[in-house]
């Protein structure tokens, strides 16, 4: 059976569309759309813009301006979107006035799933027939393999959204197995269009981030800068090449600035990981936060600066080691009715 190992935020969302038959009637949705368009024109009028050319981005900006909110969860903030985005897709009523269902597989319970399986199997048989024909004609079979590395199959939730009905894990795994069998056949290129509907590209994380090239200062020594932050500390680091491993923080030596061994170990980590301990000099400035936060901020800044000196593969290693990620942990706010962020008051029985 297939087990989903890496999860994305898409997986965590609940699929409301497949839960049951209509909760919102078509007339209701139509009315919502009309109201939305009217409201859009009113909003454009209020903001002094042209109602005809008022796009969704302008709406978002206007709402953020009129109703500013400091809530962390973006979904919790006030928003104005087209009703089709707000109300999830619902299955329309599947039977006619006389009570007869439209689809022939309605009484199986999972009509779209079984129809999908039938379709896929039809394609499979098609490909096999084509293959037999080619063998009969003694023509060579095409062997262009699809690039499976950069793509993944649809997740169970995405498939549920597509079919608008609930699936079980077993069903989902059977469907994926069928697709894989289909792709494994040599002549599967014929049905490429059909298979593309069930694939998704996995963008490589690294390509989004731009690595700055090295800069050179007066003496011709290469250097690069990086910035980092942790909790409330902000740090900038300038890493010079051809050095002796000397590090200066805010004008003082690290031995004096960080008397604790733990902080110095944090500073050592990026250099040790790349094996360049004695090769670079570093000058950093840091402010805010406490002792540990400043050490973490400098570590991030130096790792970012070292990216320019190092090959792409090593940058990928650093990213996987967690040297290039900003640590999102901040002090949690205290809630009313509790003593701290999590600690409740002492419970007294009476």
């Amino acid at each position: 059976t297939l087990r989903l190992i890496c999860t994305t935020t898409a997986v965590q969302r609940k699929n409301v569309g497949a839960s049951g038959p209509e909760k919102y009637t078509e007339a209701f949705i139509k009315k919502q759309i009309e109201e939305f368009n009217l409201g859009k024109r009113h909003l454009a009028n209020m903001m002094g813009e042209d109602p005809e050319t008022f796009t969704q981005e302008d709406i978002d900006r206007a709402i953020a301006y009129l109703f500013p909110s400091g809530l962390f969860d973006k979904q919790a903030r006030p928003m104005m979107k087209h009703p089709t985005e707000v109300f999830p897709e619902q299955r329309k009523i599947q039977w006619g006035e006389d009570g007869r269902p439209f689809h022939f597989l309605f009484y199986t319970g999972k009509q779209s799933y079984y129809s999908l399986m039938h379709e896929t199997y039809e394609k499979f048989l098609n490909v096999q027939k084509h293959q037999d024909q080619l063998i009969a004609q003694d023509l060579p079979l095409q062997k262009e393999k699809r690039n499976l590395a950069g793509s993944r199959w649809l997740t169970k939730i995405e498939l549920e959204e597509m079919l608008l009905e609930k699936l079980s894990d077993d069903d989902y795994s059977r469907f994926i197995q069928l697709l894989q069998k289909l792709v494994a056949l040599p002549c599967a290129d014929i049905e490429e269009n059909y298979i593309q509907k069930f694939c998704k590209e996995v963008p490589v994380q690294l390509q989004r981030v731009v690595i700055e090239p090295l800069q050179y200062d007066e003496q011709g020594v290469a250097f690069s800068t990086g910035e980092g932050k942790r909790k409330t500390a902000r740090a900038t680091a300038i890493v010079y090449d051809n050095g002796t491993g000397k590090i200066t923080v805010n004008g003082t030596d690290i031995l004096h600035y960080f008397p604790v061994l733990q902080d110095r170990e944090q500073l050592l980590f990026p250099f040790q990981f790349l094996g360049r301990i004695g090769k670079h000099d570093m000058v950093c400035t840091v402010s805010g936060g406490g002792r540990s936060a400043q050490a973490g901020a400098i570590r991030l800044a130096s790792a970012k600066a070292l990216r320019s000196f190092v090959t792409e593969k090593e940058v990928e290693f650093m990213r996987q080691a967690g040297l290039l990620t900003v640590d999102p942990r901040v002090k949690e706010r205290k809630k009313p009715g509790q003593e701290g962020p999590r600690r409740k008051f002492t419970w007294k029985k009476r």
Binding site: G245, L255, L261, L268, Q272, I277, G278
Partner: protein, 382 residues
């Protein structure tokens, strides 16, 4: 460098008794870090960065109380005392060798950041002087005299001053161990009264004064004062040379944590020991040298970033010690770091597998910042 080691070995054999390196001269570059030159008099720039051995009996005789605590632990663990020859010590030794003893005593102040080896430099110099036959007046840590004193007696000699019998007796005992033969040679020049009945006549050996101090603990501080005065007066004559070695000299002019019975704070001048020591450190005598160290670690009411003579001595101390020869001590140079690391490796002190690699060495150098104390503490758990 291998040839140097061997050549010195043969040269030293002709000289004073030196303990040779224990192992068979092996394939490993052991000689690079060690030198079998056990006499500080013969140390030159060639030996810089290398460790030399002091035989354990000498350690007990010369340093009953001078060495830092961690170094004493290291001696007990490794069963040998290895001291590194470093540039500040070599400079000091050169100055001492070239100094003219007819002139007033020159004052040297060793200063530097925390944990860079000031006390060890002082001990190196003390070892040299004791080998040369000087009379060594070694005060291990002047800070011990201005803090944590359980008993304070009012001095019988001078009503204003306060005595510290415990510290004085401890110091007298150690002084006796280190300078046995001088105590028989030097004779008192005056008659001293200890209380109503006891007295020391003129012309008695100084050892008797010391015995008196040890026996009658109440008058130990006065005994110390007497010893210091006698030695100072007699060093003029040139029958012996005197080295005054004080560690933590900034304690003499700082503040104390001691309080009198009426809870008023005690100034350092009011302590007999401090008063007498100040007189010694003044350069109004000739026939020797004064070598002192500044120390922030034991100092009271000083910020931890202070290390220059001006900050640590204060105005009073600076004026009192002025003029002096400052000797800065810095962290390990790369060569010294290599030899220290090699020594730990060779004595199997670094047990961690990674510590044997080049990367491990680079890590140690980074994390300790080439500071001797940090390196010592880092290498401990490894």
């Amino acid at each position: 460098q291998l040839e140097h080691g061997c050549a010195l070995h043969t040269a030293a054999r002709g000289g004073l008794s030196s303990v040779s390196s224990q192992d068979v001269p092996a394939e490993r570059p052991r000689e690079v870090f060690h030198t079998s030159e056990s006499d500080p008099a013969k140390h030159t720039e060639q030996h810089e960065g290398r460790l030399y051995n002091i035989p354990l009996e000498e350690v007990k005789a010369v340093f009953p109380h001078g060495l830092p605590y961690r170094f004493q632990q290291q001696i007990r663990t490794f069963n040998e005392a290895r001291v590194m020859v470093r540039r500040p010590a070599l400079e000091l030794l050169a100055c001492l060798k070239g100094s003219n003893l007819a002139h007033p005593a020159v004052r040297y102040v060793i200063y530097g950041e925390r944990g860079t080896g000031k006390t060890m430099t002082l001990c190196h110099v003390v070892h040299y002087c004791s080998r040369q036959g000087w009379l060594v007046l070694h005060v291990p840590d002047a800070h011990l005299w201005v803090k944590n004193c359980k008993e304070l007696l009012q001095s019988s000699y001078n009503k204003d001053r306060l005595d510290q019998p415990l510290q004085a007796s401890v110091w007298l005992k150690n002084f006796k161990t280190s300078n046995e033969r001088f105590l028989q040679e030097i004779k008192t020049q005056k008659k001293y009264m200890w209380g109503k009945q006891e007295s020391t006549e003129e012309g008695r050996p100084l050892g008797e004064v010391v015995e008196q101090g040890l026996a009658r603990v109440r008058s130990a501080s006065d005994a110390v004062g007497v010893v210091l005065r006698e030695i100072k007066q007699q060093s003029h004559r040139g029958s012996f040379r005197l080295l005054v070695a004080v560690d933590g000299v900034n304690a003499l002019w700082g503040r104390t944590t001691l309080r009198k019975e009426d809870k008023s704070p005690v100034c350092p001048e009011e302590l007999t020991l401090v008063h007498n020591l100040r007189k010694m450190v003044r350069n109004d005598w000739s026939g020797g040298a004064i070598v002192t160290t500044l120390s922030q670690t034991g100092s009271l009411f000083q910020p931890s970033s202070a290390y220059t003579p001006h900050e640590l001595l204060g105005k009073e101390g600076f004026d009192a010690l002025d003029p002096f020869v400052p000797i800065p001590v810095a962290n390990y140079s790369p060569r010294e770091f290599e030899s220290c690391y090699g020594y730990y490796l060779e004595r199997k002190w670094l047990q961690h597998e990674k510590a044997h690699t080049e990367d491990g060495k680079a890590e140690l150098r980074f994390l300790s910042g080439s500071n001797p104390r940090q390196l010592d503490r880092l290498a401990g758990p490894l």
